[in-house]
């Protein structure tokens, strides 16, 4: 028996559309959905390794209950009923004694997020958070401060761009298939790529212009670009007149930030900065200054991300072909979006969030995502109140939140840690109960509302039966909910019923997805009229350079630039990133991906290495004030002398994930847990380390 199934990849959160071939109940082949432009068969390496995940015999094969100390790795197999009863009983007890708000659930944003939010709302807990803040909380806040939209509500028209500028957005290595292909098309048509990064990446090798910037000084570069653009009137004057609020304030502010000033701070030649500004102006409005994927580097992150988006605004590229666009929802075509369980009525919640987002202490981060890195301190200080239980749903606080030792200490204080995960992640290993989720090939998921130039809906559809004793995440939450007396909030028995419920009123049914894997509300691309029709959602209806969001909360729109310190003698600024073969900390144990990349190395500048007596391939000790570890040195001219670099997501501690166990270092072990307290991102490039041969 052979069948084809259209579905969505989930080797990373991009969710590329895929076509899966199944023979006799086995997945034989996965390719990018040939009917989707920009995919046409393509998959990134992680997507290609999907079958390798499905058949990985080192993933969690049945519910597990811990028998030894936390983290000791002593487990016993349990039935689903037993494991769910265990979790249900514990939670019931905790909720009775300490209230629903003592329960926190953290996850990587996903299609079932509306189910997890429903779970928490029903137990009267405000404490849902996603990994978003850890990745780009400040990008989100920056975008809201300027446009009234989050970064997730806008995107870029890569295919038609004439010039794209990326600050460490390593697009040809930290892959999303469609953007990669669309940008390739643009480059083929002659578009320019300017790439700025203290490290030479694959993306740098494809760039027309590459600048090895002094780490942490992108903001200075941007201020100088703005300076030139204003001074030489290189901006789109009509657009700026119509849409921008706060030009005079920007003019005043930007005055001292000359290219010559920036040259000293960034190491980039002043005339190069002037040339770039002029070049971009010639291609406006079809230019993109990329707002970044991970925007979580420094405590002033929000101002760096605002500067990027101010540049886009000056070029008039917001809502321009080849620039940015705001994502259009079904409403633009007179359609209705899929329903979410969160539209139900819930009991009122009176307490603040654990991270205090939305209170005067931390007013601006997006409460839809919260700020996950606040969790360890909230637990340890019992501030704003005691937290007793954590459900980690395909999110690993031990690797994703800076300062792993601090996070561990906090976890030790909890009465219950539950992991819903596919793999033996580090948090699964450190939990009390593991509830194993089926892989994306083994389950149907909630509807993906894909807003964009053309509003669409996609469906992740089960291709094969679960290979092991695993379940759908949404069903797992429902089944815990039933044990807490909140089963009525989950009006479905299985995923097909949930999808049918979601589709009610949209005019589409599940069968409509069978042929292509998606449905479209309309046929044409929607751009709003750039002269009259851009629906900015700020209070002024304009792009707010002078931001009411910031100023009403007591923050400045244009704070003076603070120089980025160089590391003290003998130290380096730790910089982290991704490569094409791994998704954050979740794929290191995948057999095929592990074969190609099984551990991380420490990139160090050759001149510095020579002074320290470190040769290429030597084992070194890297040490911060938070932790230390041993790692292989990669001695190279490809990195700025002030920084050392490593890939994120290695150094796993779960013994059962044997391929990745103790391979390389976990970057979070070295980092300090500090944040941009306006935007919400953690500051992941604020740690200095020493390196010595061992």
């Amino acid at each position: 028996m052979e069948k084809e199934v259209y579905s969505l990849c989930f080797m990373c959160s991009v969710r590329c559309p895929i076509r899966v071939l199944v023979k006799d109940g086995q997945v034989k082949w996965i390719e990018g959905n040939p009917q989707v432009a920009g995919m046409e068969g393509s998959l990134c390496p992680r997507g290609s390794a999907g079958i390798s995940l499905l058949y990985d015999d080192q993933r969690v094969k049945s519910p597990m209950i811990r028998v030894g100390e936390r983290g000791s790795g002593h487990w016993r197999k349990a039935s689903w009923d037993e494991a769910l009863d265990y979790v249900g009983d514990k939670l019931k007890d905790i909720i009775e004694k300490h209230g629903g708000h003592s329960v926190v659930l953290g996850e990587r944003t996903q299609l079932a997020t509306h189910v997890s939010k429903t779970f928490l709302k029903a137990i009267k807990s405000p404490n849902h958070f996603t990994h978003d803040a850890l990745c780009k909380g400040s990008v989100n806040t920056a975008c809201r401060s300027l446009f009234g939209y989050t970064d997730a509500q806008m995107s870029m028209d890569y295919k038609n761009t004439k010039h794209i500028v990326m600050y460490g957005r390593n697009l040809f290595e930290a892959l999303e298939v469609k953007p990669v292909n669309n940008l390739m098309v643009a480059l083929e048509k002659g578009a320019k790529l300017t790439y700025i990064d203290p490290r030479v990446t694959i993306t740098a090798t494809k760039a027309n212009r590459y600048w090895m910037i002094r780490p942490g000084t992108d903001l200075a570069l941007n201020y100088a670009l703005i300076h030139v653009i204003l001074k030489e009137r290189l901006y789109d004057a009509a657009y700026v007149d119509r849409w921008v609020q706060g030009m005079p304030e920007l003019q005043d502010f930007i005055h001292p930030y000359t290219p010559e000033w920036a040259e000293k701070e960034t190491g980039i030649a002043a005339n190069g900065i002037v040339d770039l500004a002029r070049e971009l102006s010639q291609d406006k409005p079809s230019v993109i200054f990329h707002f970044g994927y991970r925007g979580a580097n420094h405590p002033n992150e929000i101002y760096m991300r605002r500067s990027v988006m101010i540049l886009n605004s000056l070029m008039g590229s917001m809502e321009a072909p080849g620039g940015y666009f705001f994502k259009k929802g079904p409403g633009e075509e007179g359609g209705k979006p899929a329903r979410k369980l969160t539209e139900q009525e819930f009991p009122k919640i009176e307490v603040p969030r654990f991270d205090k987002v939305g209170t005067p202490d931390f007013p601006l981060p997006d409460p839809n995502h919260g700020v996950g890195q606040m969790l360890p301190r909230a637990i340890l200080d019992e501030d704003p109140y005691p937290i007793k239980a954590l459900i980690a749903y395909r999110f690993d606080p031990l690797m994703s939140i800076p300062d792993t030792s601090l996070t561990k200490k906090a976890l030790d204080k909890l009465d219950l840690v539950v992991a819903i995960d596919i793999n033996y992640s580090d948090i699964a290993w450190y939990s009390d109960v593991i509830l194993p989720e089926s892989t994306y090939l083994e389950r149907t998921d909630s509807i993906q509302q894909a807003n964009g130039l053309k509003p669409q809906m996609f469906l992740r559809k089960q291709a094969v039966e679960p290979r092991y004793d695993t379940r759908d995440g949404a069903v797992i939450l429902k089944q815990i909910g039933e044990r807490l007396g909140i089963g009525n909030y989950f009006p479905f028995e299985n995923m097909d019923e949930l999808v049918a419920w979601q589709l009610e009123g949209t005019g589409f049914t599940m069968e409509d997805f069978a042929e292509k894997g998606f449905v479209a509300y309309g046929k044409k691309q929607i751009f709003w009229d750039r002269k009259t029709g851009i629906k900015f959602k700020t209070p002024s209806g304009k792009i707010e350079f002078k931001s009411s969001l910031l100023e009403d909360a007591g923050f400045e729109s244009f704070p003076a630039y603070e120089p980025m310190p160089s590391p003290p003698d003998g130290q380096f600024r730790l910089v982290v990133g991704r490569n094409a073969l791994h998704t954050h900390c979740s794929t290191q144990n995948n057999p095929y991906l592990n074969e190609l990349c099984s551990e991380n190395e420490l990139w160090i500048n050759e001149k510095k290495a020579e002074k320290l007596g470190i040769g290429n391939g030597d084992m070194v000790e890297v040490k911060s004030n938070k932790g230390s570890g041993k790692i292989v040195a990669k001695v190279t001219e490809l990195i700025h002398p002030e920084s050392v670099f490593m890939f994120h997501g290695f150094g796993h501690e779960a013994e059962k994930a044997a391929r990745s166990y103790k391979k390389g270092i976990n970057d979070a072990l070295l980092m300090d847990n500090i944040s941009d307290m306006i935007g919400g991102s953690p500051a992941m490039h604020e740690t200095f380390v020493t390196v010595k041969p061992v």
Partner: protein, 173 residues
């Protein structure tokens, strides 16, 4: 040579290895067995700009294949109709002679079955009218495959367009 070509557009290749994984997935191979491989050279600075090459190395399906001559059992053979060099697992005794005979190390050892596997241009797929696994899945569509007469002229195209847009334009001014 076989009657097919396999072309890699280096300018578009990003060295992501998706092609390798697709190849292994299609053939169901264990770790360590790699019928094709992308070899990265660089990055290195040229005139201040970092550049890297990624060289896609499948089997070349040689006209007079060393591997075929070396194979003692006739397992390694050249397909009559199109010149694809492949190994017949019913005849392969796992002696590995072909592995040493091939100048590029293209034949690979599969420890799970104790036999050699190699790039066979995915002949089951092309016989079914599909493109090879690596070509289908390549992230950037930089691989192309077909019969020699239909070989695309990507590089000439690009060169011509570059001339037209830079020198050409300058000439017109």
């Amino acid at each position: 040579m076989s009657k097919y070509f396999m072309l890699q557009d280096q300018q578009k290749c990003i060295g992501c290895h998706s092609c390798e994984i697709a190849c292994k997935t299609n053939k169901g191979l264990p770790a360590g067995t790699r019928p094709c491989q992308v070899i990265q050279v660089g990055p290195k600075f040229f005139n201040g700009r970092p550049r890297a090459s990624f060289i896609f190395m499948p089997c070349f399906h040689c006209e007079n294949p060393w591997c075929v001559s070396a194979c003692p059992t006739g397992a390694m053979q050249r397909r009559e109709k199109d010149g694809i060099v492949f190994v017949d697992h019913n005849l392969c005794v796992g002696c590995k002679t072909c592995i040493s005979a091939c100048p590029w190390g293209a034949p690979q050892w599969n420890p799970e079955i104790g036999k050699v596997v190699k790039c066979d241009y995915c002949m089951d797929r092309i016989d079914a009218g599909l493109r090879p696994a690596c070509v289908t899945v390549c992230t950037t569509h930089c691989l192309s495959f077909g019969e020699t007469e239909t070989m695309p002229v990507v590089k000439r195209d690009r060169y011509a367009r570059a001339m037209a847009s830079t020198k050409g334009a300058a000439h017109l001014e």
